[in-house]
């Protein structure tokens, strides 16, 4: 059954009947606690990815690897990150994959892919809250492409660590490309730090954003943050 399904998958394209792929769907679900079956399934999926299968077939494969993919699938997926038609679906698999090699592949790609695709790669690092990418993002924060700089800022906000906040603080007081995104990210960092019992760090961020030179929306957000820190401390 699975052999036939993968044979059909080779010819799969938009408009194809999806019913013959049911054995693949079944294999994903039932192999949850069957390591050998899942390894075989993953190998078949990787082989399809490396074949001349259609874009839709590879999209389908990436959706399945998003659930079953392991470090074994990372090289094949990483090779797609720079390809306009495949980059997003490769991230679909890599972004949620627990293997640290998946994060490394995304970090590596920030130095290789086009700016258009880089924005997506950076956002995937944010979704992973990848603390190891702070130094990479620090550089991208000053990228000449505003979309890249904005993505880097928002991703640092999603990471929300002390290190991420430190990088954003410097950007907030310099000629950052997208100051509003930097400030939004700083506020997100403060929220994460407050939730992580780092009130002192959070309070310092909020105080820095409560000054008169900030826009009213930011000052109000910072004031709410200061109150939250104070009430938590007391």
């Amino acid at each position: 059954m699975l052999d036939e399904a993968f044979a059909v998958l080779k010819q799969y394209d938009w408009g194809s009947d999806m019913a013959p792929l049911a054995p693949i769907e079944d294999a994903v679900a039932v192999s949850h606690d069957q390591a050998e079956v899942r390894r075989d399934l993953e190998n078949r999926l990787i082989a399809t990815l490396q074949s001349d299968a259609s874009r839709d077939a590879k999209d389908y494969v990436c959706r399945k690897l998003a659930i079953v993919g392991t470090v074994a699938a990372v090289p094949a997926l990483a090779s797609m990150l720079g390809q306009k038609d495949y980059s997003h679906m490769a991230r679909m698999a890599l972004e949620r994959m627990p293997a640290p090699e998946a994060a490394q592949a995304l970090r590596d790609a920030t130095g290789k892919v086009s700016n258009e695709l880089k924005v997506g790669v950076i956002s995937s690092l944010g979704s992973r809250r990848d603390a190891a990418s702070v130094s990479v993002l620090n550089v991208l924060l000053n990228d000449g492409d505003p979309a890249v700089a904005r993505a880097a800022a928002l991703t640092l906000g999603a990471i929300g660590s002390v290190d991420a906040a430190a990088v954003l603080k410097v950007a907030a007081t310099s000629a950052a490309r997208d100051k509003p995104a930097v400030i939004d990210a700083l506020l997100a960092c403060a929220e994460a730090l407050l939730a992580g019992q780092k009130q002192t760090d959070a309070l310092a961020i909020y105080r820095s954003l409560a000054a008169d030179n900030q826009a009213r929306l930011v000052r109000l957000a910072a004031t709410r943050g200061i109150l939250a820190c104070t009430s938590k401390q007391s």
Binding site: W14, G15, S16, M18, A29, V30, H32, D56, D59, Y60, R63, A66, I67, D85, S87, H88, M89, R91, M92, L94, E95, R96, M97, P98, E116, L117, V119, G120, S123, S124, G126, S127, A147, A151, L154, T155, K179, P180, I183, D184, L187, A188, E191, Q214, A215, R216, L217, V218, L220, A221, R224
Partner: protein
């Protein structure tokens, strides 16, 4: 102008008025009267996504005397043109600005609030950006496409002090015959309730079609995976059986989230667990047909598609009445839309505050994931994770197509 360097709406009106007012006649409508606030005191609104549900939302907001509707956005030319004509006809002018790209609408400093009724895959991106731009938000249900989006939308609303209402008008409107006795204590302690909604979302593999309408296809797809145009893929009809985007997993959670927003929202309202999320979802099969039971921290069980059980069938303990509680209601006048506008004015939380709306959406998403993986799941609402379940945690979110980010 930076989004953080905006002037207030009144200041905007004052300064622009000083520059351009002279050639125009100030109408009595603009000045206001006993029945209608002056233009400067109305809530200035815009709408994003003016298809089926958006058109209804637009109509409700447009016909309020305390709203000035100034802008709209849709990626379909004909929808955009008709929606602008509707607004212009109402006001007797040509002032409503129609946009293809929502970012231009959200960048306007004179707009106080927006309603969003795009397909679900856009909600989080747009609503979070709206909050960043200082807008209050009314967002159609289902408010989220993934579990991760909910906390991010709540955080953005709270960060910027925004009023953010979800969009199920049925939660309060349709279930009063259950809500009233439940909240009056007549049902005693509710042990379980059943919700029947179908179907599950499916992958869309419709073939490429010649584009038969003027639509910005790249913007329609937005954060969703690229796919070829097909009229059913992007149809805004209410079908959840393959003839609209509501059927497909890239854009929607299918019937589970579409009608689930109403029925699960109603069930959690009836049982007064709107502020909670389930801690466990158990996957059952009877005669090969799957169904679910959700367990809440207070012991309540919500079934999904329990065999041979009617929708909203309740197991209570009527012989043991519980203390009566006042039923929460909309504020202001005009249903859920009036509730939102009233809260924009007072800065209170609306009836369908985003946090409560997200709690309902979580029920639907957990169910979809349990059905997809065909097994039971535990859910840590505080961590927003499936504890010790790396596979299920992969389904908490999904990568968005560049350049879209939440």
């Amino acid at each position: 102008m930076s989004m953080f360097e905006r002037t207030s709406r009144r200041r905007f009106l004052q300064t622009t008025g000083a520059a351009v007012a002279a050639p125009y006649i100030i109408t009595s409508t603009a000045l206001g009267n006993a029945d209608c606030p002056a233009a400067s005191d109305r809530i200035v609104m815009g709408g994003i996504g003016i298809g089926n549900m958006g058109r209804g939302d637009q109509s409700d907001f447009l016909h309020r005397k305390d709203v000035q509707y100034v802008a709209l956005c849709d990626v379909r030319d004909d929808v955009r043109d008709k929606a602008k004509a509707t607004v212009d006809d109402k006001y007797g002018n040509k002032d409503c600005t129609a946009y293809n790209d929502f970012r231009e609408l959200l960048a306007r400093s004179d707009i106080d609030a927006v309603h969003i009724a795009t397909p679900d895959h856009w909600h989080a991106v747009m609503a979070i950006e709206a909050c960043r731009q200082g807008k209050d938000v009314y967002c159609q249900k289902p408010e989220t496409l993934t579990l991760r989006e909910g906390p991010l939308m709540i955080a953005a609303a709270r960060r910027y002090g925004r009023v953010f209402s979800g969009g199920s008008q049925r939660v309060l409107g349709d279930y009063r015959k259950y809500v009233d006795p439940a909240w009056a204590g007549e049902l005693g302690r509710i042990k379980s309730i059943n919700v029947n909604v179908n179907p599950l979302p499916k992958l869309c593999n419709l073939p490429a079609e010649e584009m038969a309408e003027k639509i910005d296809w790249n913007l329609w797809l937005g954060p969703a995976p690229w796919a070829p145009y097909n009229s059913k893929r992007c149809s805004g009809s209410f079908s959840i059986n393959g003839a609209s985007w509501r059927s497909f997993s890239d854009y929607s959670g299918g019937g589970m989230t579409d009608w689930g927003a109403h029925h699960f929202g109603g069930a959690t309202f009836i049982c007064d667990v709107r502020e909670l999320q389930p801690e466990e979802v158990t996957y059952h099969e009877k005669s090969g047909v799957p169904y679910l039971s959700y367990r809440y921290p207070n012991g309540l069980i919500i079934y999904h598609n329990r065999p041979n059980t009617e929708n909203l069938a309740i197991e209570g303990t009527p012989s043991e009445r519980t203390p009566a509680k006042p039923v929460p209601m909309y504020k202001g006048e005009g249903g859920i839309h009036g509730d939102f506008i009233e809260c924009v004015k007072t800065r209170e939380k609306p009836f369908r505050d985003i946090e409560l709306a997200v709690n309902t959406a979580v029920v639907s998403h957990l169910g979809n994931i349990a059905y997809q993986l065909r097994r039971s799941l535990k859910w840590d609402a505080r961590a927003q994770q499936f504890p010790g379940d790396a596979e299920a945690n992969r389904l908490v979110d999904r990568a968005r197509r560049e350049p879209w980010q939440v």
